[in-house]
Symmetry: C2
């Protein structure tokens, strides 16, 4: 497992009970800032070690300041342990240039064991309708470097539904939806931990809404609903309400077996380009 | 303001910097357990006092153990203060019979000032279609005491869409949706704080899915998107995916001016009746 880039880059080293050292890789950045989904996966790995249950069921993250590539410390706290579920807290810190430690992100998370759940599924949710992978578009298909182009696009295998990439040629649909196929470029299969990355790895819906500027995440909560089957994932992200300079972005992740494996919602700020 | 029951029952008394005493009222219980939305409002009030910004923008709560009527202590921590947003954490503790303190619920929350936001709204979300208030049904309309009947129903002015109350006469729709009008029985108008109650105050969607047993909340995150106009609110709650014994429940709250004022999602467990 640890031979994949995702596993190497989300590795954490236990320094003391509940305290982990990490190194944020520059490969997971967008415009120099570390991707929020990658941060969630890092914190999720630390909590998976600190808590008695292995899988994230619900992770709520409040983003405090941008994270940069380089060393970081993750401090965890076990809040409650139960038979079926346990709850923990984790914060990621980095040192500023003057040596003071700054908290970048804090999460509350409830963990469980997906493999111990019964098999019952009753759902009215349907997978997003996305054209076959080979008819979808990746960064290499863009006429010019995309506004969303970034280091991270090289290590993801992301192919977007052509109906949702008008923004790349100056014609956003205005609907606030982006859909596509998601994988890791090195072929690593999805697991509960990598889903924490997946929910925040597409270009923002703000592009499809035609917004200039960027939309930093204020808060993101993800529910992992099932262990994903091997193979490519389908992801849809949608925004329904942009108001007062804030928008929500909902993500759904479906696995190769047509199962809804993760749901997330984030609140983001719509900032104008400086 | 403090003459309304909601304001009296969510009052907190500062005992030390960041530490508040509260008294959980038995009027906000369901089957003897304190309602989760009322708890959110209590914690939200403490954080509104502790943080430099007045209004909850995003509150993420992880429920650790049931809360009971009686005294409680809320401990808050200011995590980060910024110009536009500040982030805090709060926990509610109660003493067990042996005198040991137990943490019941922990929240991470980001606060801001709704009145300082620009007026722009771009939304594709539409209010739920609900018959007029006088055509909707309250607890007094039930042929027999409802399974959801509880102390809390006396202080809420809740009128449900007849299309979503089949469960009260043994005929749940199976769709996983409940819609209705929401107010406080004493006529208190909604405000950003009371929205924290509103998102978790309807009977659970599990009733409409025909589930026996109860569905305790594991995690709930609410986004307050605008200050609500005076007057009744419309609320819809929906569940799309019940799997492995867990379900999500999404709530939307609309005000009398047809504005989407709050969105929430919770992860709950579907427990069989013992």
């Amino acid at each position: 497992m640890d031979s994949t880039q995702f596993d190497r880059d989300t590795a954490v080293t236990r320094r003391a009970p509940g305290v982990y050292a990490a190194d944020l890789s520059a490969d997971w950045t967008v415009f120099g800032v570390v991707n929020g989904g990658y941060l969630l996966a890092l914190l999720g790995r630390a909590l998976g070690d600190a808590l008695p249950h292995p899988h994230p069921f619900s992770v709520s993250a409040h983003y405090l300041a941008p994270s940069l590539p380089g060393p970081a410390v993750i401090r965890t706290e076990t809040v409650r342990t139960g038979r079926t579920l346990s709850t923990g807290q984790a914060s990621l810190f980095q040192c500023a240039q003057d040596g003071t430690e700054t908290e970048r992100i804090r999460v509350l998370a409830t963990y469980g064991d997906l493999d111990a759940l019964p098999d019952d599924v009753r759902t009215s949710a349907k997978p997003p309708e996305i054209p076959p992978y080979e008819h979808c578009l990746g960064p290499a298909d863009a006429p010019a470097p995309l506004p969303g182009s970034a280091e991270i696009t090289r290590i993801l295998d992301l192919r977007l539904d052509p109906a949702t990439v008008g923004w790349a040629v100056g014609a956003p649909s205005g609907k606030g939806e982006i859909r596509g196929w998601f994988g890791l470029a090195d072929g690593r299969d999805p697991d509960p931990l990598s889903l924490l990355l997946t929910v925040d790895a597409l270009p923002p819906t703000a592009f499809d809404l035609g917004l200039a500027g960027w939309t930093p995440t204020v808060e993101l909560t993800v529910h992992v609903r099932a262990r994903p089957a091997p193979g490519p994932l389908r992801v849809s992200i949608t925004t329904r309400n942009l108001a007062g300079g804030f928008l929500e972005e909902d993500a759904e992740v479906w696995d190769a077996a047509d199962r809804l494996v993760a749901q997330s919602r984030q609140l983001a700020r719509a900032l104008r380009r400086p």
